[in-house]
């Protein structure tokens, strides 16, 4: 076979027939793929046209992405005389099926493995046929972002597919993505003025037969173009450029770099952020005590870094303490405004420290003034000797500074002296909160409510008495069935009310009420009708009697 030249594998006729028989419309695409691959691997002849028609027929039935990818691979084994253009068009269709994730990644929803297999198959077929694959440059970049996004793989097949994709992207006839890697962090300084870059392909193989050019370098802060159209020089495996030759100010710069040398290069225009660092120097450091009444002229002492000022300075209710300084770039002499310019005052006895920010004025001179009456809250009014430190720092500074400048004796007005300065310990258990249950409402004493209950029931007795006195006649009570039913029904309804209060809800009550009410209504209707009849009869008889007497 091709790869293992020393290894002889004999294929029996039966196996060969089996493989050839597998290439038909009845086998799945995977089976055709494996059969064609095996036959091709063993160097056995196969009918490309038949295989092609079987493939095309199968592909129209199996629409999955994996089947299409396997078709691409299979086609790359077939003879170039066959018309493979329909299979080549599948590459474009597959590209359309990729999912765009945030404009950064391009992958199939089936995952990275499928995407990597697609890349390998597409380039293999394109190389075989000689047609550039219908994948655009930014699509290739996004495919690479997706395929090479993981460093740990769960399955061996996934790792294999990614390796295959890397191999096919490093060696094919059409698209070669370029990777530019800076040597170490992309930073230059006076000690290290040269920016070194390495150019590799996807398999991290170093390319030196290329030309690297700086298209332009722009300062991030000032947006000014510092450098243009400068080639990098090859030194060993690296491409170098001495950036400090143009004496750039410290800060960040956007480099646009292009790599040329082969028409197949893609992704060969790179943006790189380069940091230029420098060293800072503190100059014109003046410490002074300024009298608040401005009656005495301020006493100024100049200190040179890194020495410490002799003697101590005082700040109290009469005098303020002031500090001013300038920061310059040691190499260029330009004024600097680093991100961190702090003045730290450390109480030697209590260990307290207070940090202030020194701000630059319009001429980039940093000033700090300590007024004891304004700042007493920060100090907790703790008087004493404080050591003054100056802290300067920035990402672009190679020499951050912590400088003990002087000692300052700060005196706060006596009445504000704190009891003892206790370090605030935030992580002490706090007092426990007892949950207050909602207290039940106060009710009147039992005696009162009992009395009142009796009182309220008394009118009932009164009512009964009155009724008896009036002589409400129960004698008129006829024991007709409807009457009994009516009264029973009515009583039942009242009983239902009681049950409703204790147990039932509205729906159940309404249900029972409907039943009882219906019965009561019918019975009552009957009863009242009978009464009405009796009444009308009585009225008529009395009217008749009156009529008769009149006559």
């Amino acid at each position: 076979m091709q790869v293992l030249s020393g290894c002889e594998v004999t294929i029996s006729n039966e196996t060969r027939e089996l493989l050839l028989a597998a290439i038909s419309e009845d086998s799945s695409v995977t089976q055709i793929f494996h059969a064609v691959g095996a036959l091709s691997g063993f160097g056995l002849p196969l009918a490309s046209q038949e295989a092609l028609s079987a493939l095309t027929a199968r592909l129209s039935k199996e629409e999955s992405v994996l089947a299409t990818i396997q078709t691409l691979e299979t086609a790359s084994y077939l003879s170039q005389q066959a018309d493979l253009s329909s299979i080549v068009e599948e590459i474009e269709d597959l590209v359309a099926r990729l999912d765009d994730l945030g404009g950064v990644y391009l992958q199939f929803e089936e995952g990275i493995e499928t995407t990597a297999l697609f890349v390998a198959a597409a380039y293999k077929l394109s190389d075989h046929v000689g047609t550039e694959p219908a994948i655009k440059e930014d699509q290739v970049i996004q495919l690479m972002n997706a395929i090479f996004s993981k460093k740990n793989f769960e399955t061996l097949s996934e790792a294999f597919s990614v390796a295959r994709a890397a191999g096919s992207l490093s060696q094919n006839r059409f698209h070669l993505p370029i990777i530019v890697v800076p040597d170490g962090p992309a930073a230059v300084s006076h000690h290290q003025p040269v920016l070194r870059l390495q150019v590799t392909n996807v398999m991290s193989q170093i390319l030196t037969q290329v030309s690297v050019k700086l298209d332009q370098a722009k300062s991030v802060s000032s947006k000014a173009t510092v450098l243009q159209q400068l080639p990098f020089t090859l030194s060993g495996d690296f491409f170098e450029l001495n950036f400090m030759n143009v004496k750039p100010a410290s800060g960040y710069y956007d480099f646009s770099i292009s790599v040329d040398g082969d028409k197949r290069f893609i992704a060969n225009k790179v943006e790189l952020k380069v940091k230029v660092s420098t060293e800072v120097g503190i100059t014109n450091v003046d410490l002074s005590t300024v009298d608040k009444d401005q009656s005495i002229a301020p006493k100024t002492t100049r200190v040179a870094y890194p020495a410490k000022a002799k003697g101590s300075f005082t700040a109290d209710s009469h005098q303020n303490f002031a500090l001013s300084f300038q920061l310059i770039d040691v190499n260029s002499g330009a004024e600097l405004t680093p991100h961190q310019t702090f003045v730290r005052l450390h109480n030697q006895k209590t260990g307290q420290e207070v940090v202030f920010v020194a701000e630059p004025d319009s001429k980039n001179v940093y000033k700090f003034e300590l007024d004891t009456s304004e700042r007493k809250t920060e100090f907790d009014s703790a008087s004493g000797t404080y050591t003054l430190y100056l802290i300067i720092g920035d990402a672009t500074l190679e020499n951050p500074i912590l400088w003990n400048v002087a000692d300052v004796v700060i005196t706060f007005p006596e009445e504000d002296a704190p009891s003892t300065v206790q370090s605030k310990n935030l992580f002490v258990p706090k007092p426990e909160i007892q949950h207050l249950f909602r207290e039940p409402e106060k009710r009147p004493p039992t005696v009162v409510s009992n009395t009142f209950t009796a009182l309220v029931l008394s009118p009932l007795l009164l009512l009964l008495v009155l009724w008896i006195k009036i002589g409400a006649n129960i004698s008129n009570f006829s024991f007709a069935p409807s009457t009994i039913v009516f009264h029973m029904g009515h009583a039942a309804m009242l009983g239902l009310m009681y049950v409703y209060w204790t147990q039932l809800n509205m729906f159940q009550t309404l249900k029972y009420l409907a039943i009882l009410g219906g019965i009561t209504f019918l019975a009552g209707n009957r009863m009242l009708a009978q009464k009405a009849v009796k009444r009308i009869a009585a009225e008529q008889s009395s009217r008749l009697a009156k009529y008769r007497t009149l006559r």
Partner: protein, 110 residues
């Protein structure tokens, strides 16, 4: 007005019919009960408000149903105004209104 009250009482005492008298006794009972409960609530304070409301509502409504509606309709002297409604019908209406009233009150209480 003095005269008005006097006329009212004379008319009231002149009533002979048992029905009306019994009804009036009932009305008096309802009134007294309601008044007593109101007084109790005033005496004890605000916290009995939810308990106080049902009695007041019941009392008031009963009073209304009985006195105003039933009594007027039953009174033969007012017969001219209520041609279509017989006393029995009035009584039935009274019962129906009562039922609904009790339903609502029990719902509120429970």
């Amino acid at each position: 007005d003095e005269a008005c009250v006097a006329v009212f009482f004379r008319r009231f005492l002149a009533l002979q019919q048992h029905h009306l008298r019994a009804l009036d006794a009932f009305l008096l009972y309802v009134l007294l009960t309601g008044a007593l409960q109101f007084g109790y609530c005033l005496g004890v304070g605000r916290l009995c408000f939810p308990l106080w409301l049902p009695p007041v509502l019941t009392g008031g409504s009963l009073f209304l149903c009985s006195a105003v509606c039933l009594r007027i309709q039953i009174n033969p002297q007012n017969k001219s105004e209520f041609q279509g409604i017989s006393p029995e019908r009035a009584f039935a209406d009274f019962l129906f209104a009562n039922t609904i009233l009790h339903l609502v009150v029990i719902n509120f209480v429970g």
